[in-house]
Structures are given as structure tokens and as C-alpha cells.
């Protein structure tokens, strides 16, 4: 029983509660509380790495796969907090509660990843969503922020309701909420029974709800509004941690309990993936706000991830996992650059705010250049390998038409990434762009990784291959 205290979720939850109390006495010295939070995260990440894999689990999974993904998530959280600290400090809206709520959301993502029953899955998703509602509405004197929060709240609660309805159907027609038992039931099902119909409905409800949480195409309407309305530090969180967690939930849910009905969900997911790529690429063309632009770019990236996963093949799985990690790296870098730049004492809002950056801050201009080229998929950078792997997996599984559409949409999306570069390098404007220099070492490392891993793609390739092998061990 004492082993329970060694899992990172427990460490993080208890540590956060302690820090909330400590912070009451440290109001004048916020950096101490912040350092404690970062220390807590580092300790938790070490615990995540040394987590003992267990063979028998009923509703909560401890395996090498989950501990590695948890480690990655905590690492991402450390980087995000480092980026956001100086940004929030600059905007005079630095509150330690911001970080503590984020950590509770992080715990939610970890519960989602480890969940091995539908109840744990629901609790993890809710823990994440409750934290995100508060984080999006954090800027409480701004009408935009509260509008975004209430929109996300109504749509998010609705999607939770849809998820629950799907879960209740699955539970009622298979008689269990455990992934393994559900898989057992579905494998022996008669395809003419009422039971079959109920399970199909349940899968469709759950898919709709998870695609909403993911921000995939037919359910994407909230993404640009929420990205625009919230603080950029919340946007950077929204676009990385929940996406990784929801992706792992997709993997576990579809490849363990629903695997026998692969012919049902695979087509739905292929449609969702291709729709996300098309909508994300086309609608981004007319955006002026940089956060909305990055939101649509996130939608199209998620389309790539879902499309690769829906192929239900080993190379598709590998490509989607690779793409997820690359996407998170790129999102961290591109939002990270934007958090470091400020114009006229508020954050960057429009793309035109970036005009003339190459003259005043050539260093940041190069960072933007690299991240945008990587997102567009230009060869020596890492984004290229990710897109290449998805297209290769498509061709290997003989989806030739889809791969042509994907390539065309990649070309379309190159337009708006290049437009940002054009604004940075070739347009001039009298404005007061300034930067904070506090923590740009981390940002530089992040961007250099995009280049370095692009030149030596095999490092990351081997890592994701290792992860995929761990995953197939679980699912069989």
C-alpha cells in the first residue's frame, strides 16, 4: 500500500496543496514559490521514470509506456512554466495559483494516460477540463478571456456529457468498464444483435467527445476562439499537454477495448483526420491574429496525427506517435517565441505586430524562421520527417488519393507559415517591439532541437520506435 505514495500523481497533488499554503506566507517572494513548483515537477519526473511497472492492474495502468509518457508530459510542463513565468510577470498577472491549477491539470492528463477503465478515463478528462476552464478564464478583467472561458465551459461540459452517454452505453451493453473485459466482450459479439448496435452507438458518442477534446475538424469550432481569448501562456498549455494525453487515450481506447471493431472506427477517424487537415489549412489562410493562425495550424496537425493512427498498422502508429512528439516540440517553440516578444507593453496579437522584427531583434527573427519552416515541413527540419512518415504510411496502406490530398494541403499551409516569415523579414513598421531576456536559453535549445533532430532524425525515430514496441506489448 505504501507504494501508492511513489507514483508521480500523488507526489504532485500533495506537493501542490503544500505550495498553495506556503504561498500565503511568501506573497512578496513569488519566485521562491515558483522555484518550489519547478523543483516539485523535477522530483515528480524522476518518480515517473523510476515507476515500477506492474503486471496485474485492474483500473490503473503502471507500465514502462505510461511512465515514459508521463515523464515527457512533466518535462513539457517544466518548459512551459519556464516560458510563461517571465511573460506573466511582465503582464503583472503573475499568480502562483496559475501554476498550481496547471499542475492539477497535468495530474489530470497523467490519470488519462494511466486509465485502464472508463471511470478513470472520465475522472482524468474532468480533472483536466476543470483546470482548463479556470486557466482560460484566468485573465478575469478581460472580456475576451471570460467569453472564451464560458464558451469552452459550455462546449466542454456538453462533450463530457456525450462522453458519459457513450460510456453508459458501452457499460450497459458489455457489462463492464474495464478495458480488458470490454475487449473480451467485443471480440465475441454477434454482429446482428442489439448488443452490437448499442456498442457501435457508444463508440460513436465516445469518438465525438474525444475529437472535441482533441480539437479535430467537425468539432473544432471552439479552438480558434479559445486560443485567441486566453492568455498566450494558457494557449501554449492548451496546445501541448492535453493533445498528447488525448492522443494516448485514443491509442489505448481504440487499440485495446475497441480493437475488434476496427472496421467501424477506422473509417470514421480517417474522415475526421482528412477533414481536419483540409479545414485547418484552408481557414488559416485569412487569419490576421497570430493565435488564431496557430490554432488552425494545430487543427491541421491533429488531422495528421488522427489520420496516421486510423490506418491501424504498425507504421501508421509509429508515424502518429512521432508526429505527436514533433508537433508538441514545434508548438512549444512557436508559442514560446511569441511569449518572449511583446509590443507596446501587451503581448503580440496580430501578425503585423511582428513587422520589422528582423531589424530590431534578428535573433528572435531567426527563431521564428526556424519554427515556421519546421511547421511548414521544409526538409532539413524535423517537421519534414514527421509529415514524410505520415505520407509514407498512407502510401504503404494504399491510400493514394488521400496522400495526394495531404500533400496538396501541405502546400497550401506553407503559404501562411511563409507569410509570417515575410512579415518578420520584409515588412517594416514603426513599433515598439521589445523582449525579455530572462529565459531564452531554454527557448534556443528548443529551437535548435528542431534543427538538430531534423538533421539526425534517427535519435527521435529510435525513441518513438521503442515506445511503439512497448505499446504493442500492451495491446496484445
Amino acid at each position: 500500500m505504501i507504494e501508492l505514495f511513489y507514483i508521480p500523481e500523488v507526489i504532485l497533488s500533495i506537493g501542490v496543496l503544500l505550495i498553495i499554503i506556503l504561498d500565503l506566507y511568501l506573497q512578496k517572494h513569488k519566485y521562491i514559490s515558483f522555484s518550489l513548483i519547478q523543483l516539485l515537477l523535477v522530483i515528480a519526473s524522476l518518480y515517473a521514470l523510476t515507476e515500477v511497472p506492474q503486471q496485474n492492474y485492474s483500473s490503473y495502468e503502471f507500465s514502462e509506456f505510461t511512465s515514459l509518457i508521463k515523464f515527457l508530459l512533466i518535462l513539457g510542463a517544466i518548459i512551459i512554466f519556464q516560458y510563461t513565468y517571465s511573460h506573466l510577470n511582465h503582464l503583472n498577472s503573475l499568480k502562483i495559483e496559475y501554476f498550481t491549477i496547471s499542475i492539477l491539470g497535468l495530474v489530470g492528463t497523467m490519470v488519462m494516460i494511466s486509465a485502464y477503465s472508463l471511470l478513470m478515463l472520465y475522472l482524468g478528462i474532468e480533472l483536466l477540463s476543470l483546470a482548463l476552464y479556470a486557466l482560460i478564464g484566468f485573465n478575469k478583467h478581460s472580456g475576451l478571456s471570460s467569453e472564451a472561458a464560458i464558451k469552452y465551459y459550455v462546449l466542454g461540459a456538453m462533450s463530457s456529457g456525450i462522453l458519459l452517454f457513450g460510456i453508459s452505453l458501452i457499460y450497459g451493453f458489455t457489462g463492464s468498464i474495464n478495458y480488458f473485459d470490454i475487449a473480451d466482450q467485443i471480440r465475441n459479439i454477434n454482429s446482428n444483435s442489439v448488443q452490437y448496435l448499442g456498442i457501435i452507438f457508444g463508440i460513436i458518442f465516445i469518438t465525438a467527445s474525444l475529437c472535441f477534446k482533441f480539437g479535430a475538424a467537425p468539432f473544432h469550432i471552439w479552438v480558434p476562439d479559445i486560443y485567441q481569448g486566453s492568455l498566450i501562456s494558457t494557449t501554449i498549455l492548451l496546445s501541448t499537454l492535453p493533445k498528447i494525453a488525448v492522443f494516448i487515450v485514443f491509442l489505448k481506447l481504440y487499440f485495446i477495448p475497441f480493437m475488434a471493431l476496427e472496421y467501424v472506427w477506422s473509417d470514421i477517424l480517417i474522415f475526421i483526420g482528412i477533414a481536419s487537415i483540409i479545414i485547418g489549412s484552408i481557414f488559416a489562410l485569412t487569419q490576421e491574429n497570430i493565435k488564431r493562425l496557430l490554432a488552425y495550424s494545430a487543427i491541421s496537425n491533429i488531422g495528421f496525427i488522427i489520420l496516421a493512427m486510423a490506418l491501424v498498422s504498425n507504421d501508421g502508429l509509429h508515424a502518429s506517435l512521432y508526429y505527436t512528439i514533433v508537433y508538441s516540440f514545434t508548438a512549444l517553440a512557436s508559442f514560446g517565441v511569441v511569449t518572449h516578444i511583446t509590443s507596446n507593453s501587451h503581448g503580440i496579437e496580430d501578425i503585423s505586430d511582428l513587422a520589422g522584427l528582423s531589424k530590431t531583434h534578428p535573433y528572435y527573427a531567426i527563431l521564428i524562421l526556424i519554427t515556421m519552416l519546421s511547421s511548414a515541413g521544409i526538409p532539413p527540419l524535423i517537421g519534414f520527417h514527421a509529415k514524410l512518415m505520415v505520407i509514407q504510411a498512407l502510401i504503404n496502406n494504399s491510400y493514394i488519393l488521400l496522400s495526394i490530398i495531404v500533400v496538396l494541403m501541405t502546400v497550401v499551409s506553407a503559404y501562411y507559415y511563409l507569410r509570417v516569415i515575410k512579415t518578420v523579414y520584409f515588412e517594416e513598421r514603426e513599433n515598439l517591439i521589445s523582449t525579455y531576456t530572462s529565459s531564452n536559453i531554454l527557448l534556443s535549445i528548443n529551437v535548435i532541437l528542431l534543427l538538430g533532430l531534423g538533421i539526425f532524425p534517427f535519435i527521435l525515430f529510435d525513441t518513438t520506435n521503442f515506445l511503439v514496441n512497448l505499446l504493442t506489448v500492451i495491446s496484445i
Binding site: S146, I150, G172, G175
Partner: protein, 101 residues
Amino acid sequence: MIPISYYLILSTIIFTLSIAGIFLNRKNILVLLMSLELMFLSVNFNLITLGNYLGDLTGQVFVFFVLTVVAAESAIGLALLIVLFRNKKTIDVDDLSELKG
């Protein structure tokens, strides 16, 4: 003995009504929150009847979890509503239109 399908049809009707309430309602956010509560109630109804039908306690335990989480969720929703009202002096759905493009 009422057949199980009646219960499922009833809960599906309540669920559909709540979704319709969310999409058709163009006046007040409070009504939206009420529709959300109705949706969770229909799910709870579903879980309890199915659990009872299967002779399994999991469904009923699940309902306890759902109830507590939904209570927390509506508390956050009402808090967000108050923040919104302070900023905009209105809680009309139609006035939520600053974010678009």
C-alpha cells in the same frame, strides 16, 4: 415489469432534449447550464437502469462519481458566469460575439 428498452428510450429523449436546449437556446446562459444539468441527469438515469438490469453495482457507483464531478463543474461554470457578467454586464448568448474571424 417495465422492459429495459423503455428506460433507455426515456433517457435518450431527455438527452436529445438537453442537446436541443443547448443548440436552440439563444437567450440566456443560465438556461444553457440547466440544459447541461439535464444532460448529466439523463446519463445518470441510463447508468442506474443499466447497472440494475445487469445486476452490477458499478453503474450505481459510477453515478456517485458523476454527481460529485458535475457539482464541481457547475460551481466553476457559475463562477465563470459571474466573471463574465462583471466584464460585459450581460449574460445573453447573442452578446458572446467578440471572438470571431
